[in-house]
């Protein structure tokens, strides 16, 4: 159980690549933090610095108020689960779990109890004498978690632990992980590039892009008030509709590429003529009324998913394709024009250049 604090942490790799450029946040005791972002944005680098596997170029990492920059990974009281499991192939499941404890010179009886306890939690009892090669992917990942659990660490670190598994197993293990977090009440830091995983697991999400932290917040914070166009685009599926334009004279309308105006039911606090991106999520498009911004969607094709229907289409003067998500089964014809609206709460305005939120 521990706080983890990152104080303006930077990482520059020996080849000069700046993988993390100023990470500054605090993870609270018992929190489930998910680090999310596209491939190559520096998530693993950040996690590995917390683990002690990578040197910190600048700034401090604190675990429970003690600076651990120069502390050996084994002495940080952390445990890590790797994407490819990293089990010792020549050791049985039991030996895999025992290895770290043995190196701590823990008493044999204590090791045995801890392994038993972990095996029970993870339903691994019948596999204890097997080698990792004789296990399925899901079982191996559970062993990797077992190896972490038996250490009773202050902080659990996970680097995309589920991404080598098939979708069904991933969902199942996701639920197990959530339950595990509840049981252990430990601090979890979890890296993924899968936004669904992030949304469903996290107490708070840290979203990164190109070595920068874009936003830190609860899943709903990120969903309802994305701080930048990047976040808006990353969270949510299908992705948010983005309409490019220029802020009009009254600061309450946007001129689209073809000269037509998109009236906004809100005033924007930015200079007239600013290039802006107007965003609205596909599921937030509703019937047009006088209270909403108006969109004219020409239906292109329809995806019927059963529980809901995604309508793909386009609008004159808008470069990007637009999507509309409806609950239940619908079947609009291709070519049909739908008059849709988005109310003020569901409109997101971003500066086109900086990507920052304007409303």
């Amino acid at each position: 159980m521990a706080n983890v604090t990152l104080d303006t942490v930077r990482k520059t790799y020996p080849n000069g690549y700046k993988a993390v450029q100023g990470a500054d946040f605090q993870i609270h005791d018992g929190e489930f933090i998910v680090l999310v972002g596209p491939s190559g944005c520096g998530k693993s680098t950040l996690l590995r610095m917390i683990a002690g596997l990578e040197d910190v170029t600048d700034g401090n990492i604190l675990i429970d108020d003690a600076v651990v920059n120069d502390v050996d990974p084994a002495r940080r009281d952390i445990a890590m689960v790797f994407q490819n499991y990293a089990l010792y192939p020549h050791m049985s499941v039991r030996q895999n779990m025992a290895y770290g404890l043995k190196n701590q010179r823990m008493a044999k009886s204590e090791i045995a109890t801890r392994i038993e306890e972990a095996a029970r939690t993870l339903r691994l009892e019948e596999f204890l004498e097997r080698k990792p090669g004789q296990l399925s992917g899901g079982q191996r990942q559970r062993v990797a978690m077992g190896r972490a659990i038996v250490r009773h660490p202050k902080v659990f670190l996970f680097d995309e632990p589920l991404s080598n598994l098939d979708a069904k197993l991933r969902t199942q293990l996701r639920a197990e992980l959530k339950a595990l977090h509840k049981r252990l009440e430990a601090t979890f830091v979890y890296v993924t590039h899968d936004q669904v995983e992030a949304m469903s697991l996290a107490d708070r999400i840290i979203i990164m892009s190109a070595g920068q932290i874009e936003q830190i917040g609860t899943p709903m914070d990120l969903y309802l008030r994305p701080a930048s166009r990047f976040v808006a685009d990353f969270i949510g599926s299908p992705a948010m509709n983005i309409v490019h334009g220029t802020l009009g004279e009254d600061q309450a309308s946007v001129t689209l590429a073809d000269g037509s105006a998109l009236r906004l039911p809100l005033a924007v606090n930015a200079a007239v003529g600013t290039k802006v991106d107007v965003g609205v999520r596909p599921e937030h498009l509703e019937a047009y009324s006088s209270e909403t911004a108006q969109f004219q969607l020409t239906v292109d094709f329809v995806e019927q998913l059963g529980a809901d229907t995604v309508v793909h289409g386009y609008q004159k003067g808008v470069e990007n394709p637009l999507a509309l998500r409806l609950t239940g089964i619908h079947a609009p014809e291709a070519g049909e024009i739908l008059s849709l609206g988005a109310n003020a709460d569901h409109l997101h305005l971003f500066d086109s250049v900086s990507g920052e939120r304007l409303n």
Binding site: L53, P73, A74, R75, M80, A86, P89, N103
Partner: protein, 298 residues
């Protein structure tokens, strides 16, 4: 149903007959090849069961004679050479010591060298590797005189360490272990670091067990290589009690050639004895090798 079967029959028998011919052809080639390899050895074995007079008069024999036990007993236990201090058993032991010492020494040294090169970032590490690697191009014969000088000035002539140590530095071994270590996933090292394993523990607990198959393969190659060493033992050993089999056979033949009839039977028996241990090692470790290959997966 019957229709289908009758129409199927002519179609299937044709390719079957073709396959059979190919099978026979393949086997014929393989059998001829094996015979070419095995027959000389077999002839040595059968011939080694005759007395010298018969061999001298009638040449190579294809069937077993009645002198088998006598010849081998003589080869193994009768002292020969100038000084009458060395028998076949002694030479066999010397050869085994050289073979094992050579193989084990090479494996230990090259594993440690490869470990240093792969896992420790030190200055000139890569340079060190390439220097080691280029010595691959220099055979023992090139450096044999300086090696001899060193061993002699250390007073290690006619001793096992003198016989073994100068040979155990191995560029080949270092190279193979380096390639192998580089194929071990990085995360394994990181997991071990988090598990509190230092460099020494990681080597002993993780790398060595993972290298089992590699070690077995190296052992086969190196043992046979060491066993067959001729030039170095010839230079190194003047004391006959230190002779190895490979070196000893010729020496003993030379002495006995001076007597009435060359000791053919004895020489052949010794040749067979000299052949057996490498073959045994290959057979023994091969099964191990295959087992390791099929069982482990990283």
């Amino acid at each position: 149903m019957t229709d289908v079967q009758t129409t199927m029959v002519p179609q299937t028998t044709r390719p079957r007959r073709q396959i059979k011919w190919r099978l026979i052809g393949d086997h014929a080639i393989l059998i001829t090849g094996s015979l070419l390899m095995l027959l000389p050895v077999l002839m040595v074995l059968t011939t080694s069961s005759y007395d010298n007079v018969t061999i001298h008069k009638e040449g190579i024999q294809f069937l077993f004679g009645d002198q088998l036990v006598e010849n081998y007993q003589q080869a193994l236990f009768e002292k020969g050479g100038f000084t009458k201090t060395v028998d076949g058993a002694r030479m066999l032991m010397n050869s085994l010591i050289l073979g094992f010492g050579f193989a084990v020494g090479k494996i230990v040294i090259s594993m440690m060298a490869a470990y240093a090169i792969v896992y420790f970032r030190f200055r000139f590490g890569t340079v060190a590797f390439w220097v080691i690697f280029t010595t691959l191009l220099l055979p023992l014969e090139v450096r044999i005189l300086p090696s001899y000088e060193v061993v002699q000035s250390l007073g290690m002539l006619n001793s096992y360490p003198g016989l073994i140590i100068p040979l155990i530095a191995s560029a080949t071994g270092t190279f193979y272990f380096r390639q192998f270590f580089r194929s071990v996933p990085e995360e394994l090292l990181e997991a071990a670091r988090i598990d509190g394993a230092g460099p020494f523990k990681f080597f002993i607990d993780i790398l060595v067990p993972l290298s089992q198959t590699m070690i077995a393969a190296m052992f086969i190659i190196m043992f046979v290589f060491g066993w067959n060493q001729y030039l170095w033992p010839t230079l190194m050993t003047t004391d006959e009690s230190m002779f190895t089999l490979v070196r000893g056979i010729k020496q003993i033949m030379q002495v006995w050639i001076g007597a009435n009839i060359p000791d053919y039977g004895l020489a052949m028996a010794l040749a067979i004895i000299a052949m057996t241990p490498p073959v045994a090692i290959v057979i023994f470790f091969q099964s191990w090798f295959v087992k390791g290959l099929t069982e482990s997966d990283k």
